[in-house]
């Protein structure tokens, strides 16, 4: 019984997905399609199909990086809603280097673009960081507002100075082919950006788990007064956290350009920065779990559009189901095993058993 219940708890995330899909199937039925086929296609399309899985990986790259850009400042108690804007500025910087700095060997040029992208994101993040550190201005609102500024600025750049001459739509010229990121799966759009994301996640995990810097960030978040007392410069940590996060988000934008889009488009990010927030929180702010949650969300996205195409239901249904899935998964994760009534009951039961064991041992001796 105990074991069974523990298993239920362990699998609660999966169960939640099932529950959400179950409710979603009502919508699918209402839309006149067969839920089983629909879901079959979704899963198959996202994870088992060569092309579909490639799409999953391709979507995962910006999601994971944006997620990490949210996780890191949150360790220091700072909320970065601005990954979206940092993605834009990062992509802009990278594209500028890609288009206007000629004559470099490919790999070096890619490196330089990535550096520029990271720098762009970091600089954009520096604004809220400085305002927060030295003026105590709420970083949530500043990062949020800066997203719109970045969006419009990139829109201006690709519609004006950087626009490809004669293009039907605002976008920049294509970057040289030597700058295309290597592909993970041949002939697909799955590019190496996701690998960089995974590596960053692993490094972050190590630093959070064992690094003194991770502890400094934690301390700043948990008790800034104690942090000062411990000799930690709260201001400096706010700035460093934001700079690194901005750089990571900037990389997300860079890899979108170098790995997938090959040009800078107007309004290209479509909310990856905001998706990053979901990734971060579904992962419970753990960089390792962010890999899982980004994969999950990316799969859901990729699979959902494949399912929509294959089964022919309208996107509105899919959107509603995505909301349900996130909602249910979030609920399930909130049930910390130990904090629930069931968990408490189980523990009490174990204690009683231990007491009984102890008694019988006493009697025997």
């Amino acid at each position: 019984m105990t074991r069974f219940l523990s298993l239920v708890f362990l699998l609660r995330g999966l169960l939640a997905v099932f529950a959400a899909l179950l409710i979603g199937s009502v919508l699918i039925l209402a839309a006149g399609a067969d839920p089983l086929t629909a879901y079959g296609t979704l899963f198959q399309g996202a994870f088992l199909d060569y092309w579909g899985f490639a799409t999953t990986l391709q979507i995962m790259s910006p999601l994971l990086l944006a997620g990490l850009a949210v996780v890191l400042p949150l360790r220091a108690g700072l909320f970065n809603i601005g990954a979206e804007g940092q993605i834009y500025i990062g992509a802009l910087f990278a594209t500028v280097i890609a288009l206007y700095v000629p004559g470099l060997p490919g790999p070096l040029h890619i490196l330089l673009c990535s550096f520029a992208g990271a720098l762009g994101g970091a600089l954009w993040a520096l604004i809220p960081a400085l305002l927060k550190a030295y003026r105590r201005i709420n970083e949530i609102i500043v990062t949020l507002l800066l997203n719109f500024v970045a969006l419009h600025f990139v829109s201006f750049m690709v519609g004006g100075p950087m626009m490809e001459p004669g293009a039907p739509y605002p976008y920049s010229p294509e970057i040289p082919e030597s700058l295309f990121l290597p592909h993970l799966l041949p002939r697909t759009d799955a590019h190496a950006g996701v690998l960089v994301g995974v590596v960053i996640a692993l490094v972050m995990f190590a630093v959070f788990h064992r690094g003194t810097f991770g502890f400094s960030l934690d301390t700043v978040a948990r008790n800034p007064d104690a942090a000062r007392y411990a000799g930690i410069s709260v201001e400096r940590h706010i700035i460093v956290a934001f700079l690194v996060a901005g750089a990571i988000a900037g990389l997300a934008g860079t890899f979108e350009v170098l790995g997938h889009r090959y040009r800078l488009f107007h309004a290209f990010s479509q909310g990856y920065g905001y998706d990053g927030i979901v990734v971060a929180f579904l992962a419970g702010l753990s960089p390792l779990l962010a890999i899982v949650s980004a994969l999950f969300l990316a799969g859901l996205r990729a699979g959902a559009s494949i399912m929509q195409r294959a089964v022919g239901i309208e996107t509105t249904v899919i959107e509603a189901i995505q909301g349900l899935v996130i909602l249910f998964v979030a609920v399930s994760l909130a049930f910390r095993y130990r904090a629930t009534e069931v968990g408490r009951a189980l523990r009490r039961r174990q204690e009683v058993e231990r007491a009984l064991d102890a008694e019988s041992e006493e009697r025997e001796s």
Partner: protein, 290 residues
């Protein structure tokens, strides 16, 4: 018969505007030709390539991107899938794909001319979602027509930055009206409704571009051209079905089956109607110079 056609749409198929019309073209083709069709709506820009290549890989014979913003993606998909026929409706001429286009300056000119002839204040307002080539071409034509029609003021442009925000489109229009515009023209998706409402409430004219507003708001509609993307879409599919579709640009001028002058308001005098007819005839003859 296993000919299959797919359309990828940026917006919602119920927007009463571009997306809905293209979608209707797909349905039309299905009925006419008895073929299998599929569509993806609300496809974000980042997913354009994967959506189109997915269809191409799964053996769809023709894959259509709805709108100029698909041009770059379509080009790539065509490169990667040489077998598939990739089409962009309202896209710029591009190598490797078929594009179906309207002579935007001409359509703009015709609308500008009629409304410019009728305007009392001499000012027009155009509400757009974003800046892009097809729109700018149209505006340029409109302005020339507007001046040629004898209007003395300006044709002002405002961008709402959101194709679907009805409330903002309405406010933008009210502002244009307040600046003296007595003719407004929407170039939006869901947002068009807001422009029409503002015109109705302020008792000024609206000019329709895509759909014949003379049918839905006959009182307010001064002039409409019809860019019948549904016909364009259906034609594209039909040509692909027949095997006559080439990877080149097809352009519709005013007065074709897929794009023509719609209803003019009953108060538009005969002489004006005659002038427009003459202009359109010149356009069709290819002798028209703006």
């Amino acid at each position: 018969q296993d000919f299959r056609a797919a359309v990828v749409l940026p917006g919602s198929i119920t927007d009463q505007s571009f997306n809905q019309v293209v979608y209707e073209g797909l349905v039309k083709a299905k009925e006419r030709l008895g073929i299998e069709v599929a569509f993806s709506e609300k496809v974000k820009q980042a997913d354009q390539v994967s959506a189109m290549s997915d269809y191409a890989r799964r053996g769809y014979d023709v894959v259509i991107g709805a709108g100029g913003e698909f041009t770059a993606a379509a080009e790539r998909v065509a490169r990667q899938n040489p077998d598939a026929m990739v089409v962009v409706i309202n896209g710029a001429p591009t190598e490797g794909i078929a594009t179906f286009n309207y002579n935007n300056p001409h359509f703009g000119y015709v609308l500008g001319y009629v409304t410019g002839r009728m305007s009392e204040t001499g000012n027009a307002g155009i509400v757009g979602g974003q800046e892009f080539k097809a729109f700018l071409d149209l505006v340029e034509g409109f302005r020339k027509g507007w001046a040629a029609g004898g209007a003395t003021g300006e044709a002002m442009v405002t961008y709402t930055d959101d194709w679907d925000d009805v409330a903002k489109a309405k406010e933008a229009t009210l502002n244009l009206i307040n600046q003296g515009a007595d003719v407004v023209m929407p170039y939006l998706d869901n947002g068009s409704v807001g422009v029409i409402q503002a015109a109705e409430e302020s008792g000024i004219w609206v000019a329709g571009l895509f759909a014949d507003l003379g049918k839905s708001v006959p009182e307010t509609n001064l002039a409409s051209t019809v860019l019948d993307f549904s016909e364009a879409t259906a034609q594209a599919i039909q040509m692909a079905h027949e095997g006559t579709l080439e990877r080149k640009n097809y352009e519709f001028d005013v007065g074709s089956k897929a794009g023509y002058l719609g209803t003019l308001h009953s108060s538009v005098p005969e002489e004006v109607r005659a002038e427009v007819e003459a202009i359109i005839a010149e356009m069709q003859a290819g002798t028209f110079e703006m």
